[in-house]
């Protein structure tokens, strides 16, 4: 398995798979097949994939350990960047198709409407992570500091879940589900951090 994961082909395939939602949106747009309310459709699809990719990215570390697949690390940066990619599409949809670059209205939304504030916070937190995603940046920052900085993704995912929870009208099942997944992923980390140090240095 680790061998398959190490292959360049696998990475290319995963890359293409990550692009599928965007390609489907693109072809739907081209064929005018996004339903009566295309803006809502695009906003929801890109929002859904942003939170999903954030959570998938956060699953990499636990899955590596639990499944003994260290090679999964090869995909983490790409998955994180896809979260940012969908987040940017999502934000662009809002700025362009929803608000038509009405900056006064947008600014008002960001400070006045808690769910937009939360969404915007989630996106802003991803910006420094995307900017420092290169190997050069890791070297420049040093592993420790880079790792610390990249813990911002926890807060981004949390803000993303809150954003979703605040925006639904009444059916809160999906935001709660994403919240529960995030909770499990964070609990895993909490257990690792708070485990007695003696054991952490032990056999695994």
């Amino acid at each position: 398995m680790n061998k398959i994961l190490a292959s360049g082909w696998t990475k290319a395939v995963v890359f293409l798979m990550c692009l599928v939602p965007a390609l489907l949106l693109g072809s739907g747009w081209y064929k005018e097949a996004l339903g009566p309310n295309p803006v809502e459709n695009i906003t929801h699809t890109t929002g859904d994939w942003t939170i999903r990719f954030l959570l998938i990215t956060l699953s990499v570390t636990p899955l590596r350990k639990l499944l003994h697949l260290p090679m999964l690390i090869r995909f983490r940066r790409m998955l994180g960047l896809f979260a940012f990619f969908y987040g940017c599409l999502h934000l662009t949809t809002y700025l362009w198709l929803d608000q038509f670059f009405d900056w006064a209205g947008i600014w008002k939304d960001i400070y006045k409407r808690p769910y937009i504030t939360a969404g915007f916070t989630a996106w802003i937190l991803l910006v420094p992570l995307a900017l420092t995603s290169t190997s050069w940046a890791i070297r420049k920052l040093g592993g420790k500091r880079w790792q610390l900085l990249h813990r911002l993704i926890y807060f981004s995912a949390l803000a993303g879940v809150i954003h979703y929870y605040w925006l639904v009208k009444s059916d809160i099942r999906l935001p709660l589900m994403y919240g529960a997944i995030l909770l499990v992923l964070m609990l895993y980390r909490a257990i690792i951090w708070f485990r007695p140090k003696a054991r952490a240095g032990g056999s695994f």
């Binding site: 339903g35 009566p36 309310n37 295309p38 009444s170 059916d171």
Partner: protein
């Protein structure tokens, strides 16, 4: 049907498509089992055109019937069109009771005969910032209310939807209390624009649009226009309403369309006319202010949102 010309309000290709779809699908099945006048897709005859109609082009049939908020059948806009297909609208019983001299119980046939059918093309503005233009078929709610003779204690009209968790299994995820409840002040309910709807686009109302009987109150946000009505009660006090019970801070009893009063989570200044991308400014009372503003003189519409 010959006096109704939908080609005037719908792009021709859409109109032809729809004809083919209906001829092949629902009509063929429905005709075998239900009385001719009351299954979704059946033609409604003797419909006159109402002067209350807007001249704006009607939203295509596919959009009106494929994009619905009807939480009993699911919270996604596409859910009702899928999940309401087998909803049983026959037999149906509507009761009108409360502070009236002549309470009534009507079956489908009786509902269709409350008053002569009119086609009224109304703007419909959803609280979620989208709008459509719908050629409803029905009559003024006042026609029914006059028949039951409300007494002096009838200050409000309460409406209740059908709810059957067996037929509407998605309803338990609605996140709002069901059966759906709505209400109007008596003078609002008696206003000629307030309409009981039994059809659209010349045909019996599709299930996903609230068959067999729904309300259309065009100057209020769409959720006030309750679907699949089984009970109308004339009452003395302001009745509870579904969205107000779910979130009083966001959804008031009146819920008049008003670009000056924001929803706490979004501005109501603009709306998106479906299908498509274009937005337009939202008009106070959804553009029906000339007719209905008088109902609210002296009222602070920010307080009574």
């Amino acid at each position: 049907m010959s006096n109704l010309r939908y080609s005037q309000v719908t792009p021709k290709s859409e109109y032809l498509n729809r004809r083919r779809f209906l001829a092949g699908g629902a009509a063929a099945v429905g005709a075998l089992v239900l009385p001719v006048s009351t299954y979704a897709g059946a033609k409604l005859s003797g419909v006159t055109k109402s002067p209350l109609s807007t001249t704006e082009p009607a939203t295509p049939f596919e959009a009106i019937t494929g994009y619905n908020n009807y939480y009993e059948f699911g919270t996604d806009k596409g859910d009702p069109a899928k999940n309401a297909q087998n909803f049983k609208t026959s037999p149906w019983t509507l009761t009108i009771e409360g502070n009236v001299a002549k309470p009534k119980t009507l079956d489908l046939d009786g509902i269709m005969k409350i008053a002569p059918l009119e086609e009224r093309i109304y703007r419909h503005r959803c609280v979620e910032r989208w709008s459509i233009v719908v050629p409803w078929i029905g009559f003024s709610l006042s026609a029914l209310l006059q028949q039951v003779e409300p007494n002096s204690k009838a200050k409000y009209v309460a409406f209740q939807s059908y709810y059957d968790p067996k037929q509407m299994p998605e309803g338990k995820h609605a996140g709002i209390q069901l059966p759906y409840l709505e209400g109007l002040r008596i003078d609002e309910a008696m206003h000629p624009l307030a309409m009981l709807v039994v059809g659209l686009y010349g045909e019996v109302l599709p299930n996903q649009n609230g068959a067999p009987l729904r309300l259309a109150v065009p100057w209020k946000y769409g959720f006030k226009s309750i679907k699949s009505i089984v009970k109308i009660k004339l009452v003395e006090k302001e009745p509870p309403t579904a969205w107000n019970l779910a979130n009083a801070h966001e959804y008031g009893f009146y819920s008049n369309v008003n670009p000056e009063v924001d929803h706490p989570r979004w501005s109501q200044a603009k709306e998106r006319r479906l299908p498509g991308f274009a937005t337009r400014p939202t008009l106070k009372f959804n553009g029906y202010g000339d007719q209905v503003a008088g109902l609210y003189t002296g009222m602070d519409l920010k307080k009574y949102y």
